[in-house]
Amino acid sequence: MKSLEELKAIRERMQHQVGFRSDSGDDQIRVVVGMATCGIASGARPVLTALSSAVQEKSLANVSVTQTGCIGLCQYEPIVEVMEPGKEKVTYVKMNPEKALEVVEQHLIKGTVVTKYTISSAMDK
């Protein structure tokens, strides 16, 4: 059984690390998942979990994963938006955990937009 004692130990450890995270850097990338009724019903929770876990595992300190409400494009949910300073917002549609991991690998780490999952390519079809 997990106890609060363990949390105290984690805190002790973390307090010795100075500046463990840079939240305010200029290169901060924001990843936003639509988590309104439409998003949740079409599978946004596993997408969010996959994104958060991958960002944690790969220690991407310059990426923050957050949620938003209904973006107004319910038929394209689950939707993930990637916002990088100085660049145009990228909107990924009809996501699932596998596609989300591809976005982490290609876009968040290597900087290449995964165009096959973006809304513009979905609208061309």
Binding site: M1, E6, L7, R11, R21, A36, I40, C70
Partner: protein
């Protein structure tokens, strides 16, 4: 429709976040003797007037501005009532709102509870400034997670720090297992 009860909880709890609640209490009770699952979501947010309360179960009522349809509450209500269970919302302006849903366990139309730990973890890490109290009672054996206890220990270290987020997930998983022994309903 939501495929799991836990997704309804995730969705409906967002209403409490938007109501500017600082404390959201979620209670999940599984009671086989009464053949009933009870879910209570209680917040200390802005609450609703009598008029708003009358329209809240109507799909064509919503406070958001992106479109004119809100399905969160109607989905939750329908999911509960279709099992022979019940649905109720009580609200007082500036005091808060309490939503209660019951599901008849043995009814064929009852959805699985689903991954409640994931729902609670998402709520906590996505709203790191809010406090959550989650109680899981399985046939009389219960555990409670209270983020105010975490906050007291952590000081200014955020719940969204990777190590803390991982601790919270493990805390949920291990303590839930203590009460339900891994039985999925």
């Amino acid at each position: 429709m939501m495929p799991e009860i836990s997704l309804n909880v995730l969705d409906v709890a967002q209403n409490s976040v938007r109501a500017n609640a600082s404390l959201i209490e979620i209670l999940l009770t599984v009671d086989h003797a009464r053949d009933l699952i009870t879910i209570v979501i209680k917040d200390n947010g802005c609450g609703m007037t009598k008029e708003q309360l009358d329209t809240v179960e109507d799909p064509f009522f919503t406070t958001r501005t992106t479109r004119k349809i809100g399905l969160g509450i109607p989905f939750f209500k329908m999911a509960a009532e279709s099992t022979g269970g019940s649905f109720n919302i009580e609200s007082t302006v500036n005091v808060g709102t309490t939503t209660t849903a019951t599901f008849v366990i043995s009814h064929i139309d009852r959805m699985p509870i689903g991954d409640m730990n994931c729902t609670i973890h998402s709520l906590i890490t996505l709203n790191p400034t809010l406090d959550f109290v989650y109680t899981y009672d399985f046939d009389g054996l219960a555990f409670t997670l209270d983020t105010r206890q975490f906050r007291e220990i952590l000081g200014d270290i955020g719940f969204d720090e990777p190590e803390i987020s991982q601790y919270i997930m493990n805390y949920l998983k291990e303590n839930s297992f203590e009460v339900d022994k891994g039985i999925q309903i």
